[in-house]
Every structure is written in structure tokens, then in C-alpha cells.
């Protein structure tokens, strides 16, 4: 039984067959607000503020449209989605529409009563992020006190209510040595899945790359640790490994290919091919307030721009991997090479690959990395000057 490979031959299919070409998943960023201030925040540099956020009714309508379009899974994310008081109302409608609902949370603002209510309303799964299993280090990374204890408590409630749990552990030089303990923590929490997610250096995380980048040797060691643990924990814990781009030879198939399997809606209703797509110039993003979701997915300029292989130039053009990795990540190509139509610099065929690898090696080789630029909604303009440096 294979994991689904969505959307073959997208451009050739007739419009009436919309359902067969619908995305499998929708990442719903309900808010950019978050009590944590992690330096690798994946939200864009420009954050939406609370008064720009979609209303309850607008999100509920999105859930119904998503189900009609053929979307199967909803990932309720943020920021921290539980800061929205109407999360229950959104989950209820999503579940009734037949969508598989996944809550992606930092787990520090959710109460037992709310979790129970969410479960009763049809929430299918909880993904809990952790910063580290060392409390002091977790506090340093998230700039949030006592977070780990709250996460343990959430884990207890998840087990009490017999809900499936995934632990998401973003990995970087400040916690990479604790990976074995992170794996133990996931088992202890009763998680069925563990995402060992090497940081993807876009947006805010890119500002902190020099503070976060692990060494090649550390990264290789994580592969060994995960491979050993996969065997040891077979049938107990499923591993998901998000590869570290900078030491790779071929790029990852970012989002499973642009406009192929996933769509992203940001807090103010902009529909994006990926959560970082606003960093790519020349894209026009439609908003759910003015257009139907199906229309945006099928015909939206931002989705059509890099869908399929037609935009590619060499070395992607004609490459046997062109429809395996889709040229990698447009946002990373933009950020590192200044041109989103270039191949992802993670690819060994990119003329920028050597500089890309050298940057990682140089930054990870520094004994005392720079301080974190913490992520705060107050610093939403994205200037490092407006972020807070500590240590």
C-alpha cells in the first residue's frame, strides 16, 4: 500500500476533473500569534496581526469548500492555533465535512477541558512540537518558561483521551546532541510518530541560520541514531525525517511539488502554494474573501507559476529528477540565489551548491555561534533590529 502520489499530469487534466486533482492536504494557519519565540519560526517575515485574521464563519466556510474540493486532511496550525477561542467551532465544521483534522500545537496554552471538547467534536490527531527535552535549554530556545512541563501534561491528557500523538522535534545545533533523549521522550509520551525535523532555513529561520546550523558530522550522526531507533522501535514509533538541505546532494521535493498536493491559507485568508511563498517575487496571491478555493487552486496565478516542469531551466530542465524533486524549493532558490527559477542550491547540479555547502560548514564551524534573534509578533516588520537579542 503506497502513500499517495497526488496530482499526476496536472496541466493536462480537464477542469471538470477538479476532484482528482485536488490537494490532499490544507495547511490552515489560523493565526500568527504564538506565546513562543523560537528563532526558527516558519512563519513569514511579515506576520498578520489579530485584526487581519479571518472570522470564524470564514474559516468554517473554508472547511466546507475544502471538503467539496476533495481535500482529505486539514492541518490546523499557526502560530499557535489554540490561541483562537473559536478553534472548537472550526474543528466541529471540519470534522462534520468529513475532513481528517490535525492540530499542530506547541501545547502550552491548551487546557484539559478544551482538549476533551476538541476530541468530542471530532479532532483526529495532535501534533505537539517540542524545543528540547532539557527544560533549561527548551526555555532558552522558545523564550518561554516552564513549557516542557506543560507539554508533558498535554501528553498525559492525550493518553487519557486515547488520542493519537505525533511529537515534532525541530533539530539544530542547540539540541542535536539530545536526539537519543528526544526519541525516549516520544516513547514515554506514548507518541505513535516522531518527526525529526532538521530546520529548514527560510524566512525567520534564515536570519538565525548561523546560530542554528549543525555540523555535517552532527547531521550524519542523527541519521545513524534514527536508523538504529527505527529498527529498535519498529511497530512502536514511526519516524519521519525532515532532511537537512545544506548537506544534501539532491533537493527535497518541496511540498511534494508546487501546487500538487498541499495548499496553505494564511491568517488573513491569502492562499499560498507554501507557507513561505510570499518571499518569491512576481506571485499574485488570491484571497478566500474574494474567490472560491477550487478556483484559486486550479487557476490562481501563484499556483500556476511553478506548477509542473514548464518553468524550469537548466539544470532542472531535462533532468531525470525534474518530476521527482521538482527542482526543490522555490523559496530557497530565491533566498540563496536571488532567482526563484534557479534550481534549489541544495542540488549538486546548482552552480550555487558549493557556496551553499560552504556557508553551512563555515557557520557550523564557529565555536561560539551568534545569539538568537527571537521571534515576536511585535517584531513583525521583520527587521532584525526589532527582534530581541538575549543571552
Amino acid at each position: 500500500m503506497n502513500e499517495i502520489a497526488p496530482l499526476e499530469h496536472f496541466a493536462d487534466a480537464p477542469v471538470e476533473a477538479a476532484c482528482s486533482r485536488a490537494p490532499i492536504g490544507l495547511l490552515a494557519e489560523l493565526t500568527h500569534r504564538c506565546p513562543l519565540q523560537c528563532p526558527y519560526c516558519s512563519n513569514p517575515l511579515e506576520l498578520d496581526r489579530v485584526n487581519q485574521e479571518l472570522t470564524t464563519a470564514e474559516w468554517q466556510d473554508i472547511m466546507r469548500q475544502a471538503a467539496d474540493l476533495g481535500i482529505l486532511q486539514i492541518h490546523l496550525s499557526g502560530g499557535e492555533p489554540t490561541v483562537r477561542k473559536d478553534l472548537e467551532d472550526i474543528v466541529e465544521v471540519a470534522a462534520k465535512a468529513g475532513l481528517y483534522t490535525n492540530l499542530i500545537t506547541a501545547g502550552v496554552t491548551l487546557t484539559r477541558d478544551r482538549l476533551k471538547k476538541l476530541k468530542d467534536l471530532g479532532l483526529d490527531h495532535v501534533q505537539l512540537s517540542i524545543q528540547d527535552v532539557n527544560e533549561a535549554n527548551a526555555e532558552k530556545i522558545s523564550a518561554y518558561k516552564n513549557g516542557l512541563a506543560k507539554k508533558r501534561e498535554l501528553g498525559k491528557w492525550v493518553r487519557e483521551f486515547d488520542m493519537p500523538l505525533t511529537i515534532n522535534a525541530p533539530i539544530h545545533r542547540h539540541n542535536i546532541e539530545n536526539l537519543p533523549a528526544i526519541i525516549d521522550f516520544a516513547v514515554e509520551m506514548g507518541a505513535g510518530r516522531l518527526e525529526v525535523a532538521h530546520i529548514q532555513y527560510y524566512a525567520w529561520a534564515l536570519k538565525n541560520r548561523a546560530a542554528l546550523m549543525p555540523s555535517r558530522a552532527q547531521v550524519y550522526k542523527t541519521n545513524e541514531i534514527v536508523e538504529e531507533a527505527k529498527v529498535r522501535l519498529k511497530g512502536i514509533l514511526v519516524f519521519d525525517f525532515v532532511v537537512p538541505d545544506y548537506y544534501a546532494k539532491t533537493p527535497k521535493p518541496c511540498m511534494g511539488g508546487w501546487g500538487r498536493g498541499i495548499m496553505n491559507i494564511n491568517p488573513s485568508g491569502k492562499v499560498l502554494p507554501c507557507h513561505a511563498a510570499e518571499s518569491v517575487p512576481g506571485l499574485e496571491f488570491d484571497n478566500v474573501k474574494t474567490k472560491r478555493l477550487a478556483d484559486i487552486w486550479l487557476k490562481g496565478q501563484a499556483f500556476q507559476m511553478y506548477r509542473g516542469p514548464s518553468w524550469m531551466k537548466e539544470p532542472c530542465k531535462g533532468c531525470p529528477r525534474a518530476e521527482i524533486d521538482f527542482g526543490g524549493c522555490r523559496c530557497q532558490a530565491m533566498a540563496f540565489t536571488g532567482d526563484a527559477t534557479n534550481t534549489d542550491p541544495a542540488c549538486k547540479f546548482s552552480p550555487h551548491h558549493a557556496a551553499f555547502v560552504a556557508a553551512a560548514e563555515a557557520e557550523s564551524g564557529v565555536a561560539n555561534p551568534p545569539n538568537f534573534l527571537y521571534r515576536r509578533l511585535g517584531g513583525a516588520k521583520g527587521s532584525p533590529d526589532s527582534a530581541v537579542e538575549t543571552e
Binding site: 482528482s20 486532511q73 505525533t166
Partner: protein, 100 residues
């Protein structure tokens, strides 16, 4: 201990009574005209025979009786079928998609 917490590997045998955990959903998708298995952050696309097996995973039937039914239905030797059923269910149990 609750059902979602897996402390030991489930080993599938002819006597196992497989079922789907409550958070795993075998669902027909009318728009795409096929079956899906919805799992945490994963969607699987079972082939026709996998669908027939999964439909019978009801915590009541044993693997042996599922194989017997399929052997009868597809007019095939049960020894061959049961090996395939066990190997498929073991793979799915290791992915957390099937319990027993």
C-alpha cells in the same frame, strides 16, 4: 494504558484479530473514485485487494478467516493468500495503521 499507546510491536499471525485503531479511517472518496486510508499526517492508497482485507479488519474475524473468505471469493489456494494477508497486515501494523 490506552489503545493509542503502543508499547510493544504487534505481531500478526493467523490467529490475530486485526482491526483499525479509531483514529485510522478507511474511507471511499467518491470524487476520486477510490479508497483511502486516512492516518495521522498520512494518506495511503490501498489497492483493490488491500481494501478487501481492510474492510474485514473488524476486531472479530481472525486473519485465518479473512484469508478463508478471500480464498473462497477469488478461488485461490488459502496457503498463498494467508501469507500475503499476514505480510500486508504486519507492514500496516508497523506503520500504526492496523492493531490486533
Amino acid at each position: 494504558m490506552t489503545a493509542s499507546v503502543q508499547r510493544t510491536r504487534t505481531i500478526i499471525s493467523a490467529a490475530s484479530k486485526p482491526g483499525l485503531p479509531h483514529h485510522i479511517k478507511l474511507r471511499h472518496d467518491p470524487g476520486r473514485g477510490r479508497w483511502h486510508v486516512l492516518a495521522p499526517e498520512r494518506v495511503f492508497e490501498p489497492d483493490a485487494i488491500a481494501v478487501e482485507i481492510l474492510k474485514r479488519c473488524d476486531d472479530q474475524r481472525t486473519v485465518q478467516s479473512i484469508a478463508d473468505e478471500l480464498a473462497n471469493e477469488y478461488n485461490a489456494p488459502v496457503e498463498n493468500i494467508i501469507a500475503d494477508v499476514i505480510s500486508m497486515l504486519q507492514e500496516l501494523a508497523d506503520k500504526g495503521v492496523v492493531k490486533a
